[in-house]
């Protein structure tokens, strides 16, 4: 069983859609939330929404963000820098969200490394990927 919470953070409806799509593939994802930044929303207001989603119960939380340098990432990384129980990853994809949703156990270094690797290795171009597979 997964022992940490997942929060998807990003612009507009992307986080909610990413969560819904993750559930489409792997079934209901327990203990997960999506927090989208609205076009007119201030960073301060978004910080509050994200803090609420992360929760105040001292549990470990994985925040998956859509864009390096975007407000959701900036806010999440500021929280993560102050709070060691929060891990913030940018460049979230369906592949990373699935890996996290299906993870077992703790949010430890090994899992964080695995999530980063799943994200990177899921980015391919067909021809180059084919050539590499063939060699």
């Amino acid at each position: 069983m997964r022992k940490f919470r997942i929060v998807l953070a990003g612009h507009g409806t992307l986080p909610a859609a990413l969560l819904a799509t993750t559930e489409l593939i792997c079934g209901p994802v327990a203990d997960a939330a999506a927090v989208g930044l609205e076009p007119t929303e201030s960073p301060d207001h978004y910080t509050e929404s994200l803090r609420d989603a992360i929760g105040h119960d001292g549990r470990r939380v994985l925040v998956l963000c859509d864009l390096l340098g975007g407000t959701p990432f900036n806010v999440a990384s500021a929280i993560a820098r102050r709070s060691p129980r929060v891990v913030c990853i940018s460049g979230a994809s369906l592949a990373i969200a699935l890996e996290a949703a299906l993870a077992d156990g703790d949010l430890d270094d090994a899992l964080v490394e695995r999530l980063l690797e799943v994200g990177r290795s899921g980015i391919v171009e067909t021809e180059r990927h084919r050539a590499r597979r063939a060699s």
Partner: protein, 160 residues
């Protein structure tokens, strides 16, 4: 030479800046002029984290920022300069930084603030500071993302 563009955005670095403006300006460097951020090591670090790798972020106070901006304007290196408020940009201009265009990119709404356009609201003081910038020969435009057609402040300014 002048700085091509100084952007006023109360969010400083965020998605519109990293995804659009860096490319539009061909900038490989971000300079933030903000007294509060310059004093706060944590804030400086978070701002540095927000930039793509390979794009250095300099967070400077007003005095250091003015000197740096004068050098950068002379060097012609494409750079994006960010400030949180019109007051900071006016102070840069008064300190001798040549600025061609000030871009209003994000100024949040709030009590006592008048909405000029979409996500751009200003207080009476800020409006006066922007008008002063115009009098000093700097164009003031609203352009939230780089693909937007710039809207001159003059065309929206209620007093004109």
């Amino acid at each position: 030479m002048s700085l091509r563009l100084v952007r006023i955005d109360d969010r400083l670095i965020h998605g519109q800046v990293v995804a659009g403006w860096l490319r539009a300006l061909g900038a490989q460097r971000i300079v933030i002029v903000d007294d509060a951020a310059a004093r706060d090591e944590f804030l400086r670090e978070v701002l540095t984290l927000a930039a793509p790798s390979g794009v250095p972020v300099e967070v400077l106070d007003l005095v250091g920022g003015a000197a740096r901006c004068i050098d950068l304007a002379a060097s012609r290196e494409p750079v994006i300069v960010l400030a949180r408020s019109p007051r900071t940009v006016l102070a840069l201009r008064q300190a001798g930084v040549p600025i061609e265009v000030v871009d209003l990119g994000g100024l949040g709404a709030g009590p006592g603030r008048r909405r000029l356009h979409r996500t751009i609201s200003v207080s009476a003081d800020e409006l006066a500071e922007l008008r002063e910038l115009e009098q000093l020969g700097t164009r003031v435009e609203i352009r939230i993302v780089a693909d937007d057609r710039p809207i001159a402040l003059r065309s929206l300014d209620p007093a004109r």
